[in-house]
Amino acid sequence: MREREDEWTGLMRSAISGDGAAYHRLLKAIAPVLRAGARRGLARAGQPVDQSEDIVQDILLAVHLKRHTWDANAPFAPWLFAIARNKLIDALRRRGRRVFVNIDDFAETLPGEAAAETVSASEVAARLESLPARQRAVLQSIAVDSASIRDTAAKYSMSEGAVRVALHRALASLTARLREQ
């Protein structure tokens, strides 16, 4: 466990200094751990665990949009689990549950438990529909159609810079829309 968390810290340090591949690996590595933690939290609150993917996606979005608040000299896991707990509490509150989150829901996860099935997120999908057309088109192109930033730019006759900006705004407004609910 210790080893796993040290590896995350190393990956995040590389990611912050611009290593996109390390960032991708890190997000892939934490997703199953977040999924297991979200399932445990939902189960404890008596909620169907198949909603866990929405929570996982919200945590990943928050990790991404708030990554500048991580102190590169501190370990990554406590920062990650603080964000994860915050998002889990938020999700349970929106479901009208009296919230009772065990602080170890995320940290305790054993690697073996982590292989839970991926179920599509429906809440995030609904929020996607309400994005401005341009942002949604860019997000659709990159996320769903797996196009590169360059191809997306060509397809919509935008500059690559404009695509990057639209993509970032789309990701930020996915979270903002959640907050407004």
Binding site: G18, G20, A21, Y23, H24, L27, K28, A31, E53, V56, Q57, L60, L61, A62, H64, L65, K66, R67, H68, T69, W70, D71, A74, P78, W79, F81, A82, I83, R85, N86, D90, T118, S120, A121, V124, A125, L128, E129, R136, L139, Q140, I142, A143, V144, S146, S148, I149, R164, V165, L167, H168, L171, T175, R179
Partner: protein, 213 residues
Amino acid sequence: MRMETDQLIRTLAADNTRARPVGFVLALALLAAAPVSLLMFFTELGVRPDVMTAMRNPFFDLKFAVTLALATSAILVSLHLSRPEASMRGWGWLFMIPAGLLVAGISSEMMMPQRLPMMTRLVGQNSRVCMSAIPAMSLPLLAAALIALRHGAPTRPALAGAIAGLLSAGIAATFYASHCTDDSPLFVVTWYTIATALVTAVGALAGSRVLRF
């Protein structure tokens, strides 16, 4: 349109937009809001006319030490709390600095011979201006601080909002202190504290709404 988690991860990795550190954004926001508060100060209040003489009075100077210590401590704590895993442990003592300065001021005033009785010094002449001017000048600064802290990730939004209130009240009180002719630490501990508490409450309330992420 659906998005699988793997697709989201790939997309996040493709977005290499760099965000500014919270401290930088907070500095910019406060620099933008301070002129608004200063404009309020110079149109409505202004520096007291005898300021050159007043500066030779240590109790006049003490007001600035207290308010600046409050503002500085609150800035440091609010930046700390903008990290999700942060707690107040080990940070609360920073607020003992302005409080300690005030207590030291009160006790040294007690030991000196005074022309005016204690209650007169405490009640002063400007309590109503003090209690309205500090909160009014705080508001632009509080709004700016909250906007900047939204850039962070505070997991205790009401607490972070309260600290933003202390921060803005500390700066506003620094401006106000140069106008006010009541220099007794007894006046400061009473009326500045009430004004600051008011702004802190507003900050906590606003923070619990706008600082969730």
